[in-house]
Amino acid sequence: MAWFKREKKRIDQPTPPDERRVKTEGLWTKCENCRTTVWKKDLEANWRVCPKCQHHFRLSATQRLELLLDSRWVEHDAALASSDPLHFTDTRPYAARLKDARKKLGMADAIITAEGLLGGRSVMCCSMEFNFIGGSMGAVVGEKVTRAIETAIARKFPLIIISCSGGARMMEGTISLMQLAKVSAALARLDEVRLPFISVLTDPTTGGVTASYAMLGDINIAEPGALIGFAGPRVIEQTIRQKLPKGFQTAEFLLEHGFLDAVVHRKDLKTYISSALDFFLA
């Protein structure tokens, strides 16, 4: 018999391998622009703007509302979802793509429309979600924006739309195209009753969204470096068979060519919009 005895009980379950390492995964991130390693919490605290080079990372639709609205907001038409009118299938059924996006993001389509307060003033605010099928506009996005405009008219609220979209949604064919006309017609009515519309263009805003509401603001503003255009850069390169100049289709390029009122840093966005609303409504 041994003259010493094990005091503690043997550990019978070894530590699972993923717990053995110190978890540093996800604490740091690399800036897409200047390649600096940034502590993620710093980035989040800075509204996802790189502290070193001021590169603006993409925000989700919800983060956008958090950035601009005073506190809570009331979402409209949250349950409105596409019924896949064309029964469209490419390499995967559109219905399956919708299902995945809904599950991943917990929203029914690519936009949140909400009423809330901005600088103490009631506004209708629409915020697009790029991660939902490229922020594309089908019947649901078109309908929700139109309803938001109609609500703004009925309740005499100013309108703010934050665009972030690849354009019209191909999987709903010509129905998507018609949404451009539908929303623009509603904006004509908003214009008639002299309610302000501020269009905020963020990275990226292209195709049918640029060619309808995004360009129709009383004031059009964009975030630094945002890609904004009608045709995508690849399509243009194929058409003209040459490389595009550096900085082509950026917010700064549009400002230079006269299509934006200002390029506004994310940290100043809320103050800028608030001052604009003061100008329009005070």
């Binding site: 299938t89 089908g138 309908e143 191909m170 064919g173 129905i175 195209l177 018609m178 006309a181 017609a185």
Partner: protein
């Protein structure tokens, strides 16, 4: 392709019937032959009625298809073209002008493609630039000012996707047209005559009536473009054309267009005069209907027409 095979078969049958007739001579009783001939005609009609989306795309792009200026020549008198957008330049791909239609002063607007390479290059393949859309809007405002109806003819692969077009605000030009056309207090009749290519088509297609020629197409993206993005294979254009539902019949079912204008059997390119006459009937009726309405009723109707588009929703819980 199955359909091409069938069209060859029909042609072969037609030739055989003709041969039989010649063999039979003039004094032979022709009852049996007539029966055969009607059968072949029936087959032909069925064939053209059931053309697929891709076949119709090819017809819509046919180089001999009547273009806007053919219709102007055949249906309008005293046409005078108006040039320039008063801001940057003149875009030959978009034609605007005033004319008389059944004696009535109207404004006509539309894209123009070319028939041969030289013309096509000069007209930029019917792809308008911002100055083209701005010229169209300038002339439409003029029509509204003097209370003249607007007739537009849409036939374009799309707005020009080039560097200069982007610099001058292609998106802004299109967007502005969409908003302004929604509130022009005069009748607007739109006819899609060939290719209705996305935003570049829609920018002159917000109207009180939107009619489409039987073999024209109207789409958010070209079948080739859609195939290369979603299928990552441009060769899938045929499949994409079907999936996008771009034919006149599909769009009538989806509530996007009002009327389908019939074409001569086999396509509008086979007989420009008959095509124009068929278009004339629908165009004239559409315009007369609208002229009976007050400007307020027109605008209300136009708003509601587009407001209703795409009511395909369900409620879900997320």
């Amino acid at each position: 392709m199955k359909r091409d095979h069938r069209s060859e078969e029909i042609e072969k049958l037609e030739r055989e019937v003709e041969d039989l007739r010649r063999l039979a001579g003039p004094e032979e009783p022709s009852g049996e032959l007539d029966r055969l001939r009607t059968e072949v005609l029936q087959l032909r009609r069925e064939f053209y009625e059931h053309l697929g989306a891709w076949q119709r795309t090819l017809l819509a792009r046919h180089s001999q298809r009547p273009y806007m200026m053919d219709y102007v020549r055949l249906l309008f008198e005293d046409f005078h073209e108006l040039h320039g957008d008063r801001a940057y330049g003149e875009d030959p791909a978009m034609i605007a002008g005033f004319a008389k239609y059944h004696g009535r002063p109207v404004v006509v607007i539309g894209q123009q493609k070319g028939r041969d390479t030289k013309q096509r290059v000069a007209l930029n393949f019917g792809q308008a630039k911002p100055e083209g859309y701005r010229k169209a809007l300038r002339v439409m405002h003029m029509a509204a000012k003097f209370g003249r109806p607007i007739l537009t003819f849409v036939d374009t692969p799309g707005a020009y996707p080039g560097l200069d077009a982007e610099e001058r605000g292609q998106a802004e030009a299109i967007a502005r047209n969409l908003r302004e056309m929604a509130r022009l207090p005069v009748p607007i009749v739109v006819t899609i005559t060939g290719e209705g290519g996305s935003g570049g088509a829609l920018a002159i297609a917000v109207g009180d009536r939107v009619n489409m020629l039987e073999n024209s197409i109207y789409s958010v993206i070209s079948p080739e473009g859609c195939a290369s993005i979603l299928w990552r294979d441009p060769a899938k254009a045929e499949v994409a054309a079907e999936a996008l539902r771009i034919t006149a019949r599909d769009l009538r079912e989806l509530g996007i267009i009002d009327e389908i204008i019939p074409e001569p059997e086999g396509g509008a390119h086979l007989d420009h005069e008959v095509s124009a006459a068929l278009l004339d009937r629908v165009l004239d009726r559409s315009l007369r209907d609208l002229l009976a309405l007050t400007p307020a009723a027109l605008l209300e109707g136009r708003y509601n027409k587009f407001r209703r588009m795409g009511q395909f929703f369900e409620a879900i819980r997320t």
